[in-house]
């Protein structure tokens, strides 16, 4: 019972007409309630792919369909109501409290000149509770640790109440405890029908929650499909130009690269 939610059909894009395309002939489908992990070395086009899917960038060629309709036919607010982005880091110059910051996630659900009210505060707290930092709501974001900040960013995205959640290296700053909690949260979100798209350099996280993998190399799709049948030592080694071994440990996959 796979339901496509976001399709890339033969998408090609480059930043300038004078230079070569950054991503070429991208062709894949994200399924509702599944997690797709995007793997690729640095500069493989992962961020470009996310920006294309958000509608920030427009493909040169090919089209992107959200819920079966052309992405360009959605207003930005409509896209914001459906897709949330969790960046790796976010530069912050001014001091916001965690709550004031998280409330910004309600923006796509409020009118342009609207302001968050009680129900938005409630949504924000539910999101904070899900990432386990509701106690920190009146702390300054700048005073938090790197891991807590990453949870704040995930919290803001959850406040957006999205159907698709893009996460750029969500576990990069997390300790093992928080990573494990996040894996639980991802499983819960999948059960709720939220589609997760994650870029990660951590194959362990990928094996723990991802259903599909998308391997990007030099802006092209190297492989795409269910993780069990797609991910293998040869492909991973080619992707990262490094001998990589996958061991089976009582049914759990363990990736070894050192």
């Amino acid at each position: 019972m796979n339901t496509p939610i976001l399709d890339f059909n033969d998408v090609t894009f480059g930043y300038s007409r004078h230079s070569a395309a950054v991503v070429k002939d991208l062709e894949f489908t994200f399924q509702r309630g599944k997690m797709t992990a995007i793997l690729g070395s640095n500069g493989a086009g992962k961020t470009t792919l996310l920006h294309l899917a958000l509608g920030i960038l427009t493909p040169w060629k090919g089209n992107i369909r959200l819920e079966g309709k052309d992405l360009g036919s959605f207003t930005r607010r409509e896209v914001g109501q459906r897709i949330a982005l969790v960046p790796q880091i976010e530069q912050m110059i001014y001091e916001y409290s965690v709550l004031d910051f998280i409330l910004m996630g309600r923006a796509p659900h409020l009118p342009t000149l609207g302001q968050p009210g009680d129900s938005d505060v409630q949504d924000a707290f539910q999101a904070l509770r899900r990432v386990g930092i509701e106690k920190l709501w009146d702390q300054r974001v700048s005073a938090l640790s790197g891991g807590e900040r990453q949870l704040v960013l995930i919290g803001r995205a959850l406040t957006q109440n999205p159907q698709i959640l893009f996460l750029d290296e969500p576990t990069a700053h997390l300790d093992l405890h928080n990573s494990a909690n996040l894996v639980q949260l991802f499983r819960q979100l999948k059960r709720e029908g939220v589609t997760l798209v994650i870029t990660s350099h951590d194959p362990q996280i990928v094996y723990a929650v991802a259903d599909d993998v998308l391997l990007l190399k030099g802006g092209r799709v190297l492989a795409f499909g269910p993780i069990e049948s797609t991910l293998n030592e040869a492909l991973l080694s080619e992707l990262y130009r490094l001998p990589i071994h996958i061991h089976d440990l009582d049914g759990k996959k363990v990736v070894q690269w050192l």
Partner: protein, 342 residues
């Protein structure tokens, strides 16, 4: 249950912040009322109500000079601080001030040009400084499009710096060739900023720009938070950062240019009141933008009161805003956090 309690706490704190903003507003009205009766006529200090009711000159002075001047001071303070806040947010840079996109230096050059070459009647100086403020802004925007370095924000900042430097060189040249007895003092006085020459006509001439600009900024007070985030995040939150930021910049620059053209260069208000407001109310512009407008207005009226009353001659407003601004700023930043937001 626990969630309900926390939400109640949040609600109380939000109301608390609004209460303080209203208090600032009432304080401003009180200051306006007091200032109306405060001056150097007939003698330094407050004018007696009996005197005011019997003295025809005093009535005209209060209604035709002091009232428009005070209202201009309020709008000037609101404009500079709101524009400063919006620019600091949109550019993600705590050091920018409202005129940095070539607006202040352009206006200064225009005024000096008018004083040196065209005799410099009040209306002509106002027109020239307004025109050159927009020339400065236009040149910055144009150059930013042409630069091949950095993102849009950085390009605008760099173009603004270049255009400001260009006009500042021109201003230096004008000062150098100006008649040191007649023209140079006039240029200097204009550069230091003053509300001494404000009349109802001048006030009304800038009112449409300032009110529209300030109203737009006020309406966008929560949205500015989202537009201060990085491009892709603002986008993913359903905003159109390019278009909305440009619109807000125009809404901030229009009133700024209009106010500089009548009041000259009143420094520091636009740079520091946003910091004071953030220090007191937190960074969320839903609260800090209205707060900075009221603080800026209060501060400017207070400085102008001193400027027109302390000495027999006017003390240029810009000197006082810089001096007092720096002191207030340092005291507040060195003090323990006394946040209204609790």
């Amino acid at each position: 249950m626990e969630l309900e309690e926390t939400i109640q706490v949040v609600r109380t704190r939000t109301n608390h912040r609004y209460t303080w903003i209203w208090a600032l507003g009432l304080g401003l009205i009180a200051l306006l009322w007091v200032s109306l009766f405060f001056g150097r006529y007939p003698e330094p200090g407050f004018i007696h109500l009996e005197r005011l009711s019997s003295d025809d000159l005093a009535q005209r002075l209060v209604l035709n000079l002091r009232l428009p001047r005070l209202l201009t001071a309020i709008i000037l303070g609101m404009t500079l601080s709101a524009a400063g806040m919006v620019f600091q947010m949109l550019f993600n840079n705590p050091l920018v001030e409202p005129g940095f996109l070539g607006v202040s230096q352009g206006a200064a050059f225009g005024a000096a040009f008018c004083i040196v070459f065209l005799g410099g009647s009040a209306l002509l100086i106002q027109s020239f400084s307004a025109i050159f403020a927009f020339v400065g802004l236009g040149a910055s925007a144009f150059l930013a499009h042409r630069l091949h370095y950095g993102g849009w924000i950085l390009r605008l900042v760099l173009a603004g710096i270049a255009v400001s430097a260009f006009f500042s060189a021109g201003l230096g040249l004008l000062k150098y060739i100006a008649d040191p007895l007649r023209q140079l003092p006039e240029i200097t006085f204009w550069l230091l900023g003053s509300l001494a020459s404000i009349t109802w006509v001048k006030l009304i001439s800038v009112l449409p720009f300032t009110l529209i600009g300030l109203f737009v900024l006020f309406l966008y007070r929560w949205r500015i938070n989202i537009l201060s985030l990085s491009e892709d995040i603002a986008f993913s939150l359903g905003a159109n950062p390019g278009r909305e930021r440009t619109m807000l910049m125009v809404a901030a620059v229009l009133p700024t240019a209009a106010m500089i053209s009548v009041a000259g260069m009143v420094g520091w208000v636009g740079l520091i009141t946003p910091h004071i407001a953030r220090r007191l109310f937190g960074s969320d512009t839903r609260f800090s933008l209205p707060a900075t407008m009221l603080i800026g207005a209060f501060f400017t009226v207070l400085c102008d009161d001193i400027s027109r009353t302390l000495l027999a001659g006017e003390i240029p407003l810009g000197i006082l805003t810089s001096l007092l601004g720096a002191i207030v700023f340092l005291v507040l930043m060195m003090a323990r956090p006394i946040k209204v937001k609790a």
